[in-house]
């Protein structure tokens, strides 16, 4: 639904985005990752039409991005806040009307969301009277109120306590089920793992990784298996077909981490082990997003 093609953005002496292309598919949750200053916010600001690229283009549902798409995009920036002296209800109403909703429609939807997120009594409160987590909830509501097709969340969970973070996460999943597409920018890899279908990493203004969560994990498997067993076996005998990466001996069971060399399979490994030990568990060690992220960034440096 969103095609980002060869975007270049330059600020005076500094290049924020260098020929970045991305495809965001309809109904997916897209994770946009990268260290601080990589260019994520610059890219998001181009999608939200806060700034324009120097070259390249963005297509929204096949159309060139233009002002009438603003009402179809919801954006929760990383640097976010509310008017301190304004009442909550009035404030959300104002933001919704800026997106083009009528007063009646906006009021109805705000009431629905306030009810849903247990904010019913907040309408006449001022921002000053709310905790940071409560403010975040208000901002989330303001972001999704106009039922945008594309919702961009920049570090949505910062400032939330675990309970509220979970509430918001569930709302994201529900909206996603109803068809909303998400772009999700964060440093918190565990939430990426939980939510994202597709991932791209931007580093030093270039895209360095792009693919579905599945693909990436497939790509970064390195044939490593964790085995729990009882009995005695000298894993050194496995060489050179298998590498022992780590071994641990306990009273109840022992465990070992083994990497398969090329052209070797788990079956072969089991064939060697079975006569000697009692295997209680065997897992493939799949690298976490966190590992992949750190690994990728390190490689680039």
């Amino acid at each position: 639904m969103l095609s980002i093609r060869n975007i270049v953005k330059q600020y005076a002496a500094h290049t924020a985005l260098n020929n970045v292309s991305l495809e965001v598919e309809q109904g997916k949750i897209f994770g946009l990752l990268g260290p601080n200053g990589a260019g994520k916010t610059s890219l998001i600001r181009i999608i939200t039409q806060i700034t324009a690229p120097d070259s390249g283009e963005v297509l929204f549902n096949g159309e060139k991005l233009s002002t009438h798409h603003i009402s179809q995009i919801g954006y929760l920036p990383e640097e976010r806040g509310l008017y301190k002296k304004m009442e909550i209800g009035e404030q959300v109403l104002y933001l919704a009307k800026l997106k083009g909703l009528s007063t009646a429609e906006a009021t109805k939807r705000i009431k629905y969301w306030f009810e849903k997120l247990e904010m019913g009594s907040w309408w006449n409160k001022k921002v000053e009277d709310l905790s940071k987590g409560m403010q975040q909830k208000v901002q989330f509501v303001a972001t999704v109120l106009h039922q945008p097709e594309l919702i961009i969340l920049d570090e949505p969970f910062s400032g939330f306590d675990p309970v509220n973070a979970d509430i918001i996460k569930n709302e994201i999943l529900e909206l996603n089920k109803q068809g909303a597409t998400f772009i999700f920018s964060t440093h918190r890899m565990e939430s990426v793992e939980e939510l994202c279908d597709h991932i791209a990493i931007i580093h030093k203004s270039k895209k360095i990784l792009d693919g579905t969560a599945q693909e990436i994990k497939q790509k970064y498997r390195n044939n490593t298996y964790q085995i729990e067993y009882s009995g005695d076996f000298d894993f050194a005998n496995l060489a050179p077909s298998f590498d022992l990466l780590h071994q641990e001996k306990n009273k109840e069971f022992n465990s070992a981490k083994i990497q398969l060399k090329e052209n070797q399979s788990v079956n072969q490994l089991l064939g060697i082990l079975l006569p000697h030990v009692n295997i209680s568990r065997l897992d493939e060690v799949i690298p976490s997003m966190n590992d992949i992220f750190i690994d990728q960034i390190k490689q680039q440096n």
């Binding site: 939200t48 002296k85 933001l95 800026l98």
Partner: protein, 459 residues
């Protein structure tokens, strides 16, 4: 056709958004307690200040009559000194030395000693008192004595008393100005100065007060971090313009309320006073009776009538409608011109303490316009400096208002207005280019050099 329709549709949407912003900026300020308090208290303060001025001048008029004991040893002076408005002459018998001794306990303030001099050579006249006589008093007494001696001399040369009275003239110059149409109009430098100065001061206040409000509003949105949420819905330019116009309406509302309330309060106060009219008349009568010289009475009456009717007449001739329209134009024009610059400053900083270095270049022309308008323009409203100050947009709102009551040729007025509009479009364009970059810069100390760079940024 459909393309045109969507374009039109987009235009109305844009307008609606600006209106929404204006509405929020306006309501959120007008609803504030500080706004309501300021709006109500200021007219009371103005009324109080006027009351105080009135009271003080009334007091001053009454208490400032000096009584002077006159000791005359002169045999050539046949007449006595006549009382004037502020001075009462009491001839006393007894020597100068004796009177000086009585000074402490007597009911006069000063002693005037007229020794026995020849009329052709008046000398050794003394004015003594327990207090140092003021220069003004000294001048008045000198004038009175000079007149006395002159009359004495005239009499000596054979002019009778009645002829002397006939010679007395009291004149008042009517200042008139020939208008472009060739007709004569009464004018009053006094009224022009007052009206011009007041409009100039109001203009300066309005630009300062509300320009800074625009700046504060921009900083507030930045520090609140709501700015990025808003500009994902509207263009920074729309937000800036909405804010500027919204606050302009706040300013107009406040000034309108001030004017209405001040007039109401002053009206109430005046009617309260005129209920005690008896008191006022009493006071006048009392004053009259102390000045029992018929000639002085006539003088005073004439003078009073003259000044009052004159100011009234010239105010009527000043074409207040035109001045008001021009005032509102320059009021808004000047505010818009400067508020755009204030918005740019607000966007470039993170908090108000950082604004100082940028405020200077904006404040300078404004202050300069203010100071020069009240001095140079007021003293020479048709001069070169006055002309240029009232043409250049940086100073024209203030300078033109000060010049207006003296009369400004229409072509100059038109030129100044056009330049102000051009200037306003220029500052808005400039400010919007800085603003759109500045509002997204957090936690960075910005320099002029950097601001200049933002200028050339593409969208």
């Amino acid at each position: 056709m459909t393309f045109l329709l969507t374009k039109l549709n987009n235009k109305t949407k844009t307008m609606n958004k600006i209106l929404l912003i204006i509405q929020r900026e306006y309501l959120s300020r007008v609803k504030k307690k500080s706004f309501i308090v300021m709006t109500l208290v200021t007219p009371l303060l103005i009324a109080a200040v006027y009351g105080l001025i009135g009271y003080l001048s009334y007091e001053g008029m009454n208490s400032n009559t000096d009584t002077i004991a006159v000791v005359s040893e002169n045999k050539h002076l046949t007449e006595q000194l006549l009382d004037t408005k502020k001075i009462k002459f009491n001839y006393v018998n007894g020597s100068f030395e004796q009177t000086k001794k009585d000074l402490a306990k007597a009911d006069f303030d000063y002693i005037l000693f007229l020794p026995d001099f020849e009329l052709g050579n008046p000398k050794d006249i003394q004015l003594v008192g327990s207090k140092q006589p003021s220069l003004a008093l000294n001048n008045k007494v000198e004038a009175a004595v000079e007149k006395l001696i002159r009359n004495e001399k005239l009499k000596k040369s054979g002019i009778s008393n009645s002829e002397l009275t006939k010679l007395e003239t009291s004149i008042n110059i009517d200042t008139k100005k020939i208008t472009e149409k060739g007709t004569e109009e009464d004018s009053s430098a006094g009224a022009s100065t007052i009206i011009g100065s007041i409009s100039g001061i109001l203009m300066f206040m309005f630009i300062m007060l509300y320009g800074i409000q625009v700046m504060r509003g921009v900083i507030e949105e930045k520090t609140n971090r709501i700015i990025e949420v808003i500009i994902s819905s509207v263009k920074p330019f729309q937000l800036m313009m909405g804010k500027i116009f919204g606050i302009a309406l706040v300013g107009l509302t406040q000034f309108l309320l001030w004017i209405v309330l001040t007039i109401t309060i002053s009206g109430a106060a005046v009617s309260l006073f005129s209920n005690g009219k008896g008191l006022k008349e009493n006071m006048v009568k009392q004053q009259m009776s102390t000045l029992n010289n018929p000639e002085v009475q006539k003088d005073i009456k004439k003078m009073q009538e003259n000044t009052f009717s004159k100011i009234e007449k010239s105010v009527a001739n000043l074409n207040l409608t035109k001045i008001s329209i021009v005032f509102v134009f320059f009021f808004l024009g000047g505010y818009l011109f400067y508020s755009a610059l204030y918005a740019a400053i607000g966007s470039a900083v993170d908090n108000e303490t950082e604004t100082q270095q940028f405020m200077m270049p904006v404040m300078m022309p404004l202050m300069l316009g203010y100071v020069l308008s009240l001095s140079v323009v007021n003293s020479d409203p048709y001069g070169n400096i006055a002309f240029w100050l009232s043409i250049i947009p940086f100073t024209s709102p203030i300078a033109m208002m000060v010049r207006m009551p003296y009369g400004v040729p229409d072509w100059q007025l038109a030129l100044s207005m056009v330049l102000l509009i051009v200037g306003f479009l220029g500052t808005v364009w400039m400010a919007s280019r800085i603003y759109r970059v500045g509002i997204l810069m957090y936690g960075k100390k910005v320099t002029f050099k950097e601001m200049f760079k933002w200028f050339s940024y593409k969208n």
